[in-house]
């Protein structure tokens, strides 16, 4: 490589050195004050409650109102008449008890980190997508891509859900009280899925890691999804988890089937690129 003129190249942001990732060191004391919430979150009191009548409000207005109530320290919010609007209850990075008295539309409660949400109705596509932490409980049924790319927390649908449940799941626990559609657990990378009813075709297709528990029948397993061995710890975990949401496996937890990744699709070692070059 021709030597670049230092002063000019640096002005333009060009460098000759090998590019590396940036590292940063931060230090903290494990004995410092025991703060239990994010530094930037609102300090809310869950004994203070408020109700929003969303009948004539846009989704943006509903979300703004929830935020303003949190700023005032209110920790228990009920939204009446959500009218199946899309994209409400999103981006809440706070501890909060939030109740929707009826159904939500698409992308409800997405990108949340901390709140406990109860939806007394049904939800449309992609409920709680990219959820980070907290709980979302839906009394009715849910649409497709339920909990898409979820990273953490408990997402519970007491009814049945559509196809591609937990697509690209990277953590957290998805619980379905009824049936789940085709391609549930597609490209799952981590976390747990608990299906109490039947599962549609291609369950766990191309799953990389994570665990799926099924209480009913599985129509067909996807590529690289294989049965796993149920342990005593699994049974104890499922008993506690389902008990938290007053749910029961129809045939008993002991009879549930566990599915894991066969890991035959794990192809990312350092020799593989060279092998591919040889073949091509």
């Amino acid at each position: 490589m021709a030597k670049l003129k230092q002063d000019k190249s640096h002005e333009m942001g060009l460098h000759e050195e090998q590019l590396k990732g940036r590292t940063q060191q931060r230090f903290f004391s494990i004995d410092e004050s025991e703060n239990l919430t994010y530094f930037h979150s609102f300090d809310v009191d869950t004994s203070k409650s408020a109700t929003i009548d969303a009948q004539d409000m846009t989704p943006r207005e509903i979300n703004r109102e929830i935020r303003e109530l949190m700023e005032k320290g209110i920790g228990d919010i009920t939204v009446d008449n959500p009218m199946s609007r899309h994209g409400v209850g999103v981006g809440i990075l706070n501890r909060l008890n939030l109740t929707f008295s009826d159904s939500l539309g698409y992308f409800g409660c997405g990108l949340i980190d901390g709140p406990n949400v109860h939806i007394k109705g049904r939800v449309g596509w992609s409920c709680a997508e990219n959820m980070m932490a907290g709980t979302v409980v839906i009394d009715g049924n849910a649409g497709s891509t339920f909990g898409a790319a979820i990273r953490g927390g408990d997402l519970v649908c007491k009814g049945s859900v559509g196809a591609r449940t937990g697509i690209d799941q990277k953590g957290g626990t998805i619980i379905v009280g009824g049936k789940t559609g085709a391609f549930s657990g597609f490209m799952m990378q981590r976390g747990r899925m608990i299906i109490l009813g039947d599962a549609g075709m291609n369950l766990g297709d191309s799953m990389y890691d994570g665990t799926i528990y099924v209480g009913g029948e599985v129509e067909e397993l996807g590529v690289d999804c294989v049965p796993g061995e149920m342990t005593e710890l699994d049974i104890r975990y499922l008993t506690e988890k389902l008990g938290n949401y007053d749910m029961k496996a129809p045939n008993g937890i002991e009879k549930m089937q566990k599915y894991v990744s066969g890991k035959t699709l794990w192809n990312y070692d350092n020799l593989e690129p060279n092998e591919k070059k040889l073949i091509l």
């Binding site: 940063q24 931060r26 230090f27 903290f28 494990i30 410092e32 025991e34 703060n35 239990l36 919430t37 994010y38 530094f39 930037h40 869950t46 935020r67 501890r95 008890n97 901390g114 406990n116 980070m132 932490a133 907290g134 709980t135 990273r151 953490g152 927390g153 408990d154 953590g171 957290g172 626990t173 981590r190 976390g191 747990r192 890691d209 994570g210 665990t211 710890l233 699994d234 104890r236 975990y237 506690e240 988890k241 938290n244 894991v260 890991k263 794990w266 990312y268 070692d269 350092n270 020799l271």
Partner: protein
């Protein structure tokens, strides 16, 4: 680190399958990412945290495990996409469940600290 753990993490080469032996590289994590938590090992600090958040179990912390950054015990912080290393002064038990609880407690203390990088990012980029 305890002796047993050191043997497991640092001493072993992690080459089990034929493929791993061919390439001389361990494939996958160096801990069980699918291990579900055993709540009998929960620490008082974690109990206080989940009570404050209004949860009945560890919630998102179920996916937090004690891992290893090079040869140092560490916990992965998803909020900064980096590892938080465990100081040598902390003696770690051999039981993975107990180690995971220590990792969870340390991670919460770091994330809720004023020194966490998210505090700077929040000040710099928060729009509303």
């Amino acid at each position: 680190m305890s002796n047993k753990e050191e043997e497991f993490v640092v001493g072993a080469d992690g080459l089990d399958t034929d493929r791993e032996k061919d390439i001389g590289q361990h494939i996958g994590y160096r801990y069980d990412v699918n291990l579900v938590p055993d709540l009998k090992f929960i620490t008082p600090f974690l109990q206080k945290y989940i009570d404050k958040m209004g949860w009945k179990d560890l919630n998102w912390l179920e996916d937090v495990h004690m891992g290893y950054e090079e040869d140092q015990a560490a916990v992965f912080d998803r909020n900064i996409n980096g590892w938080v290393t465990i100081p040598d002064s902390i003696k770690l038990p051999d039981n993975q469940q107990e180690r995971d609880m220590i990792a969870r407690e340390l991670l919460i203390k770091f994330q809720m600290s004023e020194n966490h990088p998210m505090v700077d990012l929040n000040n710099a980029y928060r729009k509303f």
